[in-house]
């Protein structure tokens, strides 16, 4: 056990820290590529710079534009980005879900076509999984794809699709066989969002931001070469995506929490709440939860590097992050007292905390609700009987 950087890791950290200082434009600090945050063009530009400097897809193979670095480098990267409050790469879904899925299940042609562009920010991805009738029970999905020779014709509707309004590509799960049990007739497609017949309609979230969308598919042609894995075996491919959504992404989420805790401490001091014993107690608790989460991620990482399989501890990341983040943002509003109601330009910090607090409520719903994640831990990690 050793929590120090190895000499190589320390050198990497130092170089990265210097690079961020030198290349992060003034005014971009603390602004993620979200509505109200960094604009799309700026976010793409930042992502391109990260990629050119070799910091996007650190753990991805060299041949697909990555660096082939060990996972610890990715952990260091996220720590340093959080420390500098540098904006995240625009490809949250591409880097965290689409890319890793293509790497495992994709054809050589698909890897060459998409991985590099995902890292450079040229291809932004969205995820077309949920439907009006199929959320937690994803396998019940009804958007269908019909065989039309060298391509499929897709018809149906997806919903809650984050970033679809700016996305170039979509990872889409569709029904290709309705005559078999629900998990057995699903196919996983890569869809060009500029295809004819795709209609994206923004949906406004409780924050007021249009961050997710409905996507309507009307006779959309998708080439068969865009099937990932085998036809009707898309469920297994989708599982890979979800594993990464809740695991790999967990690291990025923890880095966000690290920023949030630092900001919380700054707020508490700024508002003179640092003498209030109850606030002190709650701040300490948030910090402890952050450390525990970060260390648990490291532990899962050590298991992954030793055995090639992520440790079961990883299943905790997204679940605990979301709940901890909700408590943290609520504490910030509590610290603001009556001023907590003022948001936007009239709010303290321009309404930052009001936005964070409202947005945090989505955290326990997106990427698997907390209830579903507790089911998964109970059933798949702990071996309890199935609840259904």
């Amino acid at each position: 056990m050793d929590f120090r950087d190895t000499p190589e890791e320390a050198a990497f950290r130092k170089e990265l820290r210097g690079w961020i200082e030198a290349h992060l434009p003034e005014g971009w600090r603390g602004r993620n590529p979200t509505p109200g945050g960094l604009e799309v063009d700026a976010a793409r530009e930042w992502s391109k710079r990260l990629h050119e400097a070799g910091y996007a897809g650190l753990t991805w193979p060299l041949e697909y534009g990555g660096q082939g670095a060990p996972y610890t480098y990715q952990a260091i990267f996220l720590e340093e980005m959080a420390r500098a409050e540098a904006p995240e790469h625009i490809g949250v879904i591409g880097l965290g879900m689409a890319g890793p899925t293509i790497m495992v299940h994709g054809t050589e042609e698909q890897k060459r076509a998409h991985l590099h562009k995902t890292l450079s920010g040229e291809e932004v991805w969205c995820q077309g999984f949920s439907e009006p009738g199929s959320g937690s029970d994803l396998a019940s999905l009804r958007t269908k794809a019909e065989d039309a020779g060298d391509h499929y014709i897709v018809n149906g509707q997806k919903v809650w699709s984050s970033y679809a309004h700016i996305a170039d590509m979509c990872i889409l799960v569709v029904r290709t066989d309705a005559s078999v049990p629900k998990h057995k007739g699903i196919t996983y497609l890569l869809v060009d969002m500029r295809s004819a017949g795709i209609d994206v309609r923004p949906l406004v979230q409780i924050t007021g931001d249009p961050e997710f969308n409905e996507i309507f598919f009307t006779d959309v042609a998708v080439p068969k070469s865009n099937v990932v894995g085998e036809v009707n075996e898309g469920w297994g491919v989708a599982m890979t995506t979800l594993l990464h959504e809740r695991g790999t992404l967990g690291f990025a989420l923890t880095a966000r929490l690290e920023v949030a805790v630092a900001k919380l401490i700054a707020l508490v001091k700024e508002r003179g709440a640092d003498a209030d014993p109850i606030v002190r107690d709650r701040v300490a608790q948030q910090w402890m939860e952050l450390q525990a989460l970060k260390l648990t991620n490291y532990r899962a990482l050590t298991t992954l590097m030793k055995t090639g399989i992520p440790g079961p501890e990883g299943s905790i990341a997204k679940l605990h992050w979301s709940e901890s983040n909700q408590r943290l943002t609520k504490l910030a509003l509590d610290v603001l007292g009556p001023h907590a109601q003022l948001d936007g330009d009239d709010g303290v910090w321009g309404g930052y905390w009001q936005h964070q607090q409202l947005r945090s409520r989505g955290n326990t719903i997106e990427a698997g609700t907390s209830e579903i994640l507790r089911n998964i831990i109970a059933e798949r990690v702990l071996g309890l009987p199935r609840s259904r």
Partner: protein, 366 residues
């Protein structure tokens, strides 16, 4: 960055797990909790032979010259087995006070001595943090010293060979070792009967100076960090046992024709035990590493780990008792013993809010 224990440490864990499972099964723990002594004295020799008591004692003093990280494997396993014996008090708490006393180090390594630290006083300080407020007096007596005063909440007092007194002399607060007569010790009724606290009344008891006032601070800090980190690890062991009992019972027990684990009100509680335990485990291992490496973050890490792990252990036991229904509420069932130990850990050196206050101070008062 590497979060794994070494192969040697894993072997030690394995050895501890099987030794403790054979020597101290649940029935034996229950039996010992009713005995006058409260523990099996012969086990101390055996543990010394296994090399456990001298793990971190330098080789020139008869130890194995290893680190707190190696000991931490044992703290966790001893907690898991609910071992009743003065390992925590002797090894985690007292050793820093013995650093300049080679004879005492050697006797701990050899298994011929056990020891504890006496801090709290009735109406006075109750933790190492406010050791400055002690009223117990150390006076020069000829070429040596004598100590007069009353101590309470002394861990494993009944069995300790040496009691390290935090006391005050004309020069300031320091530490003296005494071997108090039986008549001066009273075992106080303790909720956790497997780790009893005691009250000590000394009147001009001959004493040996161990730590002079000028050296007190670093020794106190080390004692506290070692003690809190050790308790955090023990709490992880406690949580692990409560978790396993809950998990297994929820698979076995059937009601309404189904294993109760199929009901989410049960399965989600089992998940919660697991989540809290794994988070606490990570923090406890990190704290252990910080202590072993004398990292400047050790005091904060240890306080944070003790808070999170004791809370996780208490909650694990409470949830597990609930999951077991009526049988979990019986004296017969082992769970209440773990529950009481978890609460013992929680209270020692101050509860969760006291530990969080330490953490808060490092975050907000810098």
């Amino acid at each position: 960055m590497d979060f794994a224990f070494t192969d040697e440490q894993e072997m030690l864990r394995h050895q501890a797990r099987s030794f403790l499972a054979t020597e101290f099964p649940a029935e034996r723990i229950a039996e010992l909790s009713f005995s006058e002594a409260g523990w099996d004295e012969s086990s101390w020799r055996t543990m010394a032979e296994l090399g456990w008591t001298g793990l971190s004692i330098p080789e020139e003093h008869g130890g194995a010259g290893m680190s707190f990280l190696d000991e931490s494997v044992l703290f966790e396993e001893l907690g898991y087995a609910l071992y009743p014996g003065p390992y925590l008090s002797t090894v985690a708490l007292t050793l820093p006070a013995f650093a300049d006393a080679p004879d005492l180090l050697a006797s701990v390594a050899a298994g011929t001595a056990t020891a504890t630290v006496a801090i709290a006083e009735p109406g006075g300080p109750s933790s190492l943090e406010d050791a400055g407020g002690v009223r117990t007096e150390a006076l020069r007596a000829g070429r040596g010293w004598s100590v007069t005063g009353t101590k309470e909440l002394v861990c494993d007092l009944a069995t300790a060979g040496h009691v390290v007194m935090v006391a005050r002399s004309e020069e300031g607060v320091g530490m003296w070792s005494v071997a108090p007569p039986v008549s001066s010790r009273r075992v106080t009724s303790t909720m956790d009967r497997s780790r009893r606290l005691g009250r000590l009344v000394l009147e001009e008891e001959p004493a040996r100076l161990l730590v002079g006032p000028e050296h007190l601070e670093p020794v106190l800090r080390q004692m506290r960090s070692r003690g809190l980190a050790a308790l955090a690890l023990e709490a992880v062991g406690i949580a692990q046992k409560a978790f396993e009992l809950a998990r297994d019972y929820s698979k076995e027990r059937k009601q309404f024709d189904k294993a109760i684990g199929a009901y989410q009100a049960i399965s989600h509680q089992v998940s919660n035990i697991y989540i809290d335990m794994e988070l606490a485990r990570s923090l406890a291992y990190w704290a252990a590493w910080c202590v072993a490496e004398e990292d400047p973050r050790a005091p904060t890490a240890a306080a944070a780990a003790k808070a999170l792990a004791s809370e996780a252990a208490v909650a694990a036991c409470e949830r597990s008792i609930q999951i077991h229904g009526g049988v979990g509420f019986t004296w017969e069932h082992v769970l209440h013993r773990y529950y009481k130990r978890a609460q013992w850990i929680s209270s020692f050196e101050g509860g969760v809010s006291a530990q969080r206050a330490v953490v808060a101070s490092s975050l907000l008062d810098a």
